[in-house]
Symmetry: C2
Subunit: 415 residues, 2 copies
């Protein structure tokens, strides 16, 4: 008997749209999720995802930590646990972040399911339907998606090679006030190795941004998933060091340890912690206990730092390989950012090429990227730009992929 078909045969189809919330009616699928499906085939060279290099995952360390933790304190590591997060992990994070000046103490850190959940909790706590949020132009796609689910609207501030053009914030603020009759809820900033732009905000712009935020009485969301992955230059103090009282800082283990653990964190002003705990508890009670114990064990044994050093070495080489290949193979009129760290660079092709249209031609050459328009909340830019990831593919494949893209671009230009 085919149980499955018997069970599912003749189920009437109900139209659920009348039951959906207004919130849900505005949700859309991530373009990237759809794109990534196209790029799963094994012969595709994908610069599209934001994937860390899986061959560098600290497998042995994670395996050992699993064994040790389950044997030593399995009954705790597999039980329900505190909404706040695992105390020893918070202790480690507080100390580790002091290196960058982040004013973290165990009491103002909340562990989340990757930093995507941090973005969601921020939406839940701060966004009313129709409210404006200020972001860069382009900005991180996951933030757009998280906040659209709370019916946010967006006003944007341009980016140049040094990241967000801070002098435009006040103008964007005024537009939000004019359009909604109230101030925007916060400004969202990715100061280090911006996703997708690959830019880094210099110290003086961070100071200026802090001044503007304070002057406009605007909270700041400082998203820093790549801060540890710097390949050149000096660390620059995060914005939260200047205006800790109005900054919510986000970190993650997804790029330094492994994304499949789903471990990120929030550092917030202590007056906000109770609110985040309420939101987090309603969302999923707490972050996975086992993965927190495992991450904590790896950190406590001092295994994360040497691993991150190794990541920096390999990713720097891949970035350099991509930069060299772009210079060698791409047509005149193209340009790209020179990221000091992170996983991405932002490339512009000659104006006559629409990267959304060109995507099919690239895929025919078995290469994938993300079209620039995806990163513009109002879809008003990035038509001749694309995000290229350099962490996932080997140097050989990077050269091949960039060369194939270059050839396809040249062909498109001469048609």
């Amino acid at each position: 008997m085919d149980t499955e078909s018997n069970l599912n045969r003749d189920i009437p189809v109900l139209d659920w749209s009348p039951y959906l919330s207004e919130r849900a009616q505005g949700m859309t699928s991530s373009v990237i999720r759809e794109l990534l499906k196209l790029t799963q085939e094994p012969d595709i060279i994908s610069f599209a995802g934001g994937l860390p290099a899986p061959e560098l995952f600290p497998l042995r360390e994670i395996e050992e930590a699993c064994r040790y933790i389950i044997r030593k304190e399995g009954t705790k590591a597999l039980q329900y646990s505190a909404t706040e997060g695992h105390p020893p992990l918070k202790d480690y994070l507080a100390t580790a972040m002091h290196k960058y000046g982040v004013p973290a103490v165990p009491g103002n850190i909340l562990l989340t399911n990757g930093s995507q959940q941090a973005l969601d909790l921020i939406g839940k706590l701060f966004i009313n339907p129709g409210d404006f949020v200020l972001t860069g132009r382009p900005t991180y796609l996951g933030a757009i998606q998280a906040w659209r689910a709370y019916q946010a609207r967006f006003h944007t501030v341009n980016l140049d090679d040094d990241g967000m053009v801070v002098s435009e914030i006040e103008h964007a603020y005024k537009k939000a006030v004019a359009d909604s009759g109230r101030p925007p809820r916060f400004i969202y900033v990715l100061p280090n190795f911006h996703n997708p732009a690959g830019t880094t905000l210099p110290l003086e712009r961070r100071h200026r941004l802090a001044e503007v935020a304070a002057a406009l009485d605007l909270p700041v969301i400082e998203d820093d998933p790549y801060g540890e992955l710097r390949y050149e230059g000096e660390d620059i103090p995060p914005i939260c060091t200047t205006i800790p009282e109005r900054t919510i800082y986000l970190g993650t283990f997804s790029k330094t340890m492994a994304p499949g653990l789903r471990l990120g964190w929030i550092v917030c002003p202590e007056v906000l912690m109770e609110r985040f705990l309420q939101a987090k508890q309603g969302s999923d009670l707490h972050t996975g206990t086992l993965v927190q114990y495992v991450a904590s064990d790896i950190c406590e044994r001092g295994l994360l730092k040497p691993h991150v050093r190794q990541l920096r070495k390999v990713y720097k080489e891949r970035r350099d390989t991509m930069l060299d290949a772009l210079a060698e193979f791409w047509p005149a009129g193209s340009s790209w950012t020179h990221p000091q760290g992170g996983l991405f660079l932002w490339a512009r092709v000659p104006e006559s090429i629409d990267t959304n249209e060109f995507f099919k031609l690239a895929l025919a050459q078995r290469v994938a990227y993300v079209p620039g328009i995806s990163f513009y909340p109002n879809r008003d830019g990035g038509h001749n730009a694309m995000r290229l990831n350099f962490s996932f593919s080997s140097p050989d494949l990077i050269v091949q992929g960039i060369q194939r893209l270059g050839t396809a671009l040249k062909n498109a230009l001469t048609e």
Copy 2:
């Protein structure tokens, strides 16, 4: 140098309340979370939590699965993964649920961070501010908390010893329409071994509920965290077998494997899957990859079923111990439900005792429970009731704890 105090000294305190969403202003802390803090001390006999017995966690199986998975496919098990969930795990779940008649196929299952996240995603997709939700009276606290965060209001339907009094649903529906001018969004039901009531909805009431839901054009949320933990009687088909097109069914590994993995799932009509994926992706991209691989490995190796058989045996003994102790030690005028499964029973004490007030006296005797009022969304009942968990404590401690409560109750009655 004391870095921490230097970093955090003199941070001005900002009042964030003007920045909060209307949603956030209505959030409150879980009473249980606050209570559980009081009951962490080691000499407390706690019937308050909903914790599975940690000494029964399948530690060896989980440890072996971690080792096997990380060695065999660590690069996949630690990478970003599909929002839908790990395909082999969905295959297993679909087949496993067919035993109960749940019309699950891999394409209508979504893995979540425990079933609390399922409740959150449901709130996100279906609840507008001020909308009514219909629940039992009492009902699961986590659902109240999840949906209050989306500004839900509640109308409730009484429970008797057979669970939800289905004949009252239409009345509650009409009250919601009268109070909000629109239909309630859905009805939330826990048919098996209700938390907190310990009741089980008989087959004819399930059929009647399905008829009422169809007649009122009302979606049904069927929450079934304890269905596998039946200690007597026959399995009863879930409501989703009768009205699959309008039921969202929720399951979890928290009670059968381990809560610290944070693994639950949704089975929904296939037309809804895209909406759930959008909501889930904005919330946290996907559920932890490693824990899904580990759970899948344990299931595929056939280790879950014998483990659940062991749980049933131990928990049945604990339930019986608690029922016997209640009969022996509690004062006349008390009564309690006789759960056929699950983790909880619901006890009523003589009317003159308020279980919220009595909590302090119980704690002085080093015993904890959850006061009944916590489970009433409108705080309009449960004054002389309490939820007692029987899965966490050993039989010896169950007898001691119930005896101490009985003595304290008798003292309170004679004062």
